[in-house]
């Protein structure tokens, strides 16, 4: 029989996925691969404790045998001896109790003092040695990590791999106020996470994501886990993460990085939601920038970190002869994309010396060394000043000189990866909007971009989803029962309805169907969801409108409604006398 408790999961109900290769439900393993810290302490402290107990026992026994003095000829009883040894052994004594000792007894107590001090210092040293022991510290760290993960209360993302891409993703997630857990094989990278200046402490642990038990400890089996990102620079590790998620938690979203076509195919077999090959994507984006500049501009703006300025149009990007100077799979991927777009491309190896760019309109420096790329790009600029120059940047070390060189396009593989991954995680609706932008024609994109910029300004907007239901918009729903509320009404400022908030309605989801950029006249219905782009403050104002009857009434009709109950009754009475209608007399649901 199935375990009934398994059906009572706290989080969102597990989506059934037809493309999971899972046949049997298996619990996510989470037992620690190393020993428990408490057990380690008990094991190591066995000998010291036995020594301490033995010393105390022997000393007590001996004291009870020592003959008494002339005044008190009786020997100390076993209990009296135990009492004397207890305080002598622990505190080096405070007098002779129950009466003055004989010399034999004094000699014995002196012996006790030295023996017990030795026993104590030995066990203290053992305990301190244990505290500096590597295994012990690691098992403490592991326990702390798994405890923190278990206690996570809000939805979180599991990020495997904290390299450049992982860090960029974590920064964006933090920017959106979301929780995440980090795994990386490298201990120093995990320390960077702790020192990274995040506003809150995010759990991180140094271990390989290849071990499903480690994934389990990092929250793969946690109800609040909502997505897994495999961003290590090792394709096989990423594949193994995708595999574990597909077989153990198929309902989770998984995004993986991959630079090898064969591995990417294997990831698709395991139904990875998204496999991002930054090299492949770059070529596609470059072609898009060439063929559909507005769409490219809008999409890259929407994917850039919050507060970024509207990107410039890529200048002198034209059809014609292109030279790609690259080694490894980057050159292969980019050439494929450019050629499929109908360009005339020549691929040269950076080992063959300075490339010949005479007669070319574009040059891509895509070697694995940043220095080689800079040198080649500089040479190309000397040869031909009108050339479109794109440079691949592999590490952040040479960022400043590269910025000074100011090529037409800089390709940072990890950045591209992070932007796409975050845009997809942000919300399915947000990504669907970007996807729509990527597939619409250029005129539409250009028009939409003008509309968005006119509404929210030229910094990257924040996105929010507004659910029109009784929990998230009670006042709006009460209003909608009797009168029409349109998208445009919601966008009005409740202080002055002639002012439009800096908010743009991007997607309207009704009964599972998406309408992109709904016109302001569109009436809203119960159960609709709106994806809004805008300034943060204005979005907050809009959210508060949904909760206040008087605000909803004002933005929709322009009527001022009193907020206090007594004044509302008065107002209603006046309106009724004038013959106008009001919804406010209707009892709340």
């Amino acid at each position: 029989m199935a375990n009934l408790l398994q059906l009572l999961r706290r989080g969102k109900p597990a989506r059934i996925r037809p493309d999971s290769l899972r046949r049997i439900r298996v619990e996510v393993p989470a037992e620690p691969p190393t020993t428990d810290a408490a057990f380690l302490v008990l094991r190591r402290m066995r000998t010291p404790l036995v020594v301490v107990v033995s010393v105390f026992a022997a000393m007590t026994f001996g004291l009870s045998l020592m003959p008494g003095s002339v005044e008190n000829p009786e020997r100390l009883s076993v209990f009296d001896s135990f009492y004397v040894i207890s305080y002598t052994g622990l505190t080096i004594g405070y007098g002779e109790v129950p009466h003055a000792f004989s010399y034999a007894q004094r000699i014995w107590v002196t012996l006790t003092i030295y023996a017990s001090v030795i026993a104590w210092s030995y066990s203290l040293a053992a305990l301190l040695g244990l505290a500096s022991d590597h295994t012990f510290r690691q098992s403490i760290a592991l326990q702390r990590f798994s405890r923190r993960v278990r206690r996570l209360q809000s939805p979180f993302v599991l990020v495997v791999g904290y390299g450049q891409a992982g860090e960029a993703v974590c920064r964006s997630l933090e920017d959106q106020g979301r929780d995440f857990v980090v795994l990386d094989v490298d201990q120093t990278r995990i320390q960077q996470l702790a020192l990274g200046g995040y506003s809150s402490d995010h759990p991180g642990y140094a271990a390989s994501g290849r071990d499903p038990r480690v994934l389990g400890l990092a929250g793969l089996g946690h109800d609040m886990c909502e997505a897994v990102l495999a961003l290590t620079d090792d394709d096989e590790t990423n594949l193994s993460v995708v595999m574990s998620v597909n077989l153990l938690r198929p309902e989770l979203m998984v995004i993986a990085r991959c630079s090898d076509r064969e591995k990417a195919q294997q990831m698709h077999d395991f139904a990875a939601d998204v496999v991002i090959n930054p090299f492949d994507r770059y070529g596609a984006y470059l072609v898009m920038a060439l063929r559909r500049p507005s769409g490219f501009r809008l999409a890259s703006w929407l994917m850039s970190p919050r507060g970024s300025e509207l990107p410039d149009r890529l200048e002198h990007l034209t059809d014609g002869h292109w030279v790609v100077c690259a080694d490894g799979s980057f050159g292969f991927e980019v050439v494929r994309d450019l050629e499929s777009a109908g360009l005339d491309v020549l691929l040269v190896d950076p080992a063959d010396g300075r490339p010949d760019v005479s007669g070319a309109v574009g040059f891509i420096a895509g070697a694995e060394s940043d220095i080689v790329n800079m040198a080649n790009a500089a040479h190309a600029r000397i040869e031909n000043d009108e050339l479109f120059i794109a440079v691949r940047q592999n590490s952040t070390v040479n960022e400043a000189p590269l910025r000074a060189f100011d090529p037409d396009s800089v390709f940072v593989p990890t950045e591209l990866l992070a932007r796409e991954a975050v845009a997809r995680i942000t919300s399915p609706n947000y990504w669907s909007f970007i996807d729509h932008v990527l597939h619409e024609d250029d005129e539409w994109d250009s028009q939409i971009m003008d509309e968005i910029v006119a509404a929210v300004g030229d910094e990257t907007p924040v996105s929010t989803k507004v659910d029109l239901d009784y929990t998230h918009a009670p006042a709006a729903l009460r209003f909608m029962q009797t009168e029409k509320l349109t998208v445009g009404d919601l966008l009005r400022d409740p202080d002055d309805r002639s002012v439009r908030l800096a908010v743009y309605p991007a997607v309207l989801v009704r009964l599972g169907r998406r309408t992109f950029t709904p016109p302001p006249r569109t009436p809203l219905q119960e159960g609709d969801a709106l994806l809004l782009l805008g300034r943060e403050d204005d979005l907050a104002v809009l959210q508060s409108t949904l909760f206040h009857d008087s605000a909803v009434e004002y933005v929709a009709t322009g009527r001022d409604v009193a907020t206090a109950w007594v004044f509302r009754q008065l107002q209603e009475w006046r309106w009724r006398r004038r013959g106008s209608r009001s919804r406010l007399s209707r009892p709340d649901r």
Partner: protein, 128 residues
């Protein structure tokens, strides 16, 4: 041969034999129950308990439990003896002695269980 097993077996057996030696004799006759025997039984039992710390096996856990029971019972017996000998104005009477010895006899039962476990573990031991 495993030194750990030797030490462990030694202390478990010694704890049980000392306990047995103390209990032996008329239950209410203080002359037949030497206080040093009780003292030794308490000490050896505590050491036997410590030796079970950190053993993660199932049988190790049961060992720890039985040893804890024996140790606690013996400590209670020693407390009763201290009360009778030093605090109670009537001194160490036959009734007190009977109570001390019967509590120690309870500890003996736990110690016997410990030995049974030790024997079971030894008999079922296989070098895999």
């Amino acid at each position: 041969m495993n030194l750990e097993k030797v030490v462990f077996g030694f202390f478990v057996l010694l704890a049980a034999t000392l306990n047995f030696g103390y209990v032996l004799g008329d239950i209410d006759n203080p002359r037949l129950h030497n206080v040093y025997e009780l003292y030794a039984a308490v000490v050896v039992n505590i050491i036997a308990t410590i030796l079970k710390f950190g053993d993660r096996t199932q049988i190790g856990a049961v060992h720890l439990a039985t040893s804890l029971v024996a140790t606690i019972q013996l400590i209670i017996a020693a407390l009763v003896w201290i009360w009778a000998r030093h605090i109670d104005p009537a001194g160490l009477t036959g009734e007190h002695m009977a109570s001390v010895v019967s509590i120690a006899a309870g500890a003996l039962l736990a110690n016997i269980v410990s030995i049974v476990l030790l024997v079971v573990e030894t008999v079922s031991y296989r070098r895999r």
